[in-house]
Symmetry: C2
């Protein structure tokens, strides 16, 4: 790959200039581990076990760090009311102040990167950083088939409903709409793909297979926080690959509401052509169809993660 040399230069420069500085800035008067923990607890407090999970640390180690923060009167650890095994760490007033200090230090570090530049350079740096951040994040998005009953899958489907209800003029009544119930999205009747970022669900898309008719695409949704990462396009491509590999028909189709203009733009740019209404979905304004080239393999990630049908 030709960009590799540039990426390596970037890695070297950035880890030196940002990474090292960042650590040093944060761990000025206390060990880095403690500072990170303090930060991660947050103003709301946080269960110890989720701290462990988020920072990927050993239980004994976290315990010791918390003891140390406690003895510095920055943190209070209390037994949770709902479950006597779980402990919740909360920042004291002093801890909150300390966290704000870290916050200001982070700001200062960021400022020190911008400070030596002129305005035009600053704008370019900020824009480029935004691109890098977005694209690196996009690279972490995983797309896997999930059972519609899976909690993350359910979360996505519910958010889809909420989102659509919010956007449609006059709301959305799923019972009047063409169904996409869990059992219809489970193999072999259908398929549900869920996109996730750092184990958090951020999008979904589903297929309904038919014997004689084209495969339907349903429930395309991307979380607002994850828009602009190309997740929708990736979901669509994976769905098409799955449709080509598993569906009876070589054609996929879908209907959509006029208010979902990003989705419509996506379908058009992905090679879907608008066709006359092929069903009587009351909320649809546009019907799209695409003929798939041939049974391309779904991505290796999707293949590995496929649940045993």
């Amino acid at each position: 790959m030709e960009g590799v040399a540039q990426v390596r230069r970037f890695n070297r420069v950035v880890t030196q200039r940002v990474g090292a500085l960042d650590d040093h800035f944060l761990s000025r008067d206390r060990p880095l581990g403690e500072a990170r923990l303090l930060w991660e607890i947050g103003p709301e407090g946080c269960d110890v076990r989720s701290l462990r999970a988020r920072l990927g640390l050993d239980s004994g180690y976290v315990s010791r760090l918390l003891r140390s923060l406690e003895s510095a009167r920055l943190v209070k650890v209390e037994r949770a009311a709902h479950d006597g095994r779980v402990f919740t760490a909360r920042l004291t007033a002093r801890g909150l102040k300390e966290r704000e200090l870290l916050d200001r230090r982070s700001d200062a570090l960021a400022g020190s990167l911008l400070e030596p530049l002129n305005e035009k350079q600053r704008d370019r740096l900020v824009a480029a950083m935004g691109d890098v951040e977005r694209l690196l994040t996009a690279g972490l998005v995983k797309i896997e088939p999930r059972d519609p009953g899976d909690p993350q899958a359910q979360y996505c489907l519910e958010e889809y409903v909420r989102d659509i209800d919010r956007r449609f003029d006059g709301g959305w009544d799923p019972s009047r709409s063409i169904s996409a119930d869990p059992h219809e999205l489970r193999p072999p009747a259908g398929l549900l793909l869920v996109a996730s970022l750092a184990s958090e669900p951020i999008g979904c898309g589903a297929l309904k297979f038919h014997d004689r008719e084209p495969t339907e695409i349903k429930r395309m949704w991307v979380a607002p926080s994850a828009r602009g990462l190309g997740v929708g396009r990736r979901l669509l491509i994976e769905l098409e690959a799955e449709a080509a590999a598993r569906g009876m028909s070589r054609v996929v189709r879908l209907e959509t509401n006029g208010s979902l203009f990003e989705a419509i733009a996506l379908y058009r740019s992905a090679g879907y052509r608008e066709v006359p209404a092929f069903n009587d979905e009351p909320y649809a304004h546009h019907w799209f169809e695409k003929r798939l080239r041939r049974a391309a393999q779904p991505s290796s990630a999707a293949r590995r993660a496929r649940p045993s049908a």
Copy 2:
């Protein structure tokens, strides 16, 4: 500053995705410190003292790391022929192999960042990384007044001569050209600014003050490796500030050869206007002049670093 939030998001994502991974990739089977040292020694070998300087490590620590690499038969440390105090570290065949392994790992890491993206995203990521790298580097450039006798200053002046000789049609004979000898660039007769990046000289620019005539700008040079960082513009701005603060005249002027088109573009965009020849410099095609607004303060960095005149 408004970009701070973006910079912080960038820092978080990049240190997590790149920084942590980078360290982990490199230090898979040996401590990070050893891996970095192994890398830094390079295929040519390297004096121990410059290893220390480059990595900023304690002499005792480096010694111990070298002992450890030696016992792993990756490195040989030998007394240098030219100076019995100096030791030179060289990679053994095995060390070279190990270094190549690190090299491949770095490539693999870079590849793993690009791999999940499509071609368009890759191009954008690589371009954005280039921008970030260049602008962060630009932020590290320091500009200070230096005595023309200082080794780094001399290096710049020599490179300027070499560069000009290469670019001018038929070469350049400094003796036929208007002089800018060391004593003319030393306060109070003149001033020399040197730009440096990580203690390496990368550019220079000088002033010659005159009692009744405008201050002259001479010896503007930027190392090829540092072009595109805005060093030339910063040098010019600092020179103007110095001219305004120290010169008798409120006007600066310069002459330049037609082959130095980047420089000419810089002068034009910095507000210089072309004027009739004000001297008989045989190598010049263009004469420029700029009226300075008022005695602006030179940058704080330059003020702090000014040598006692």
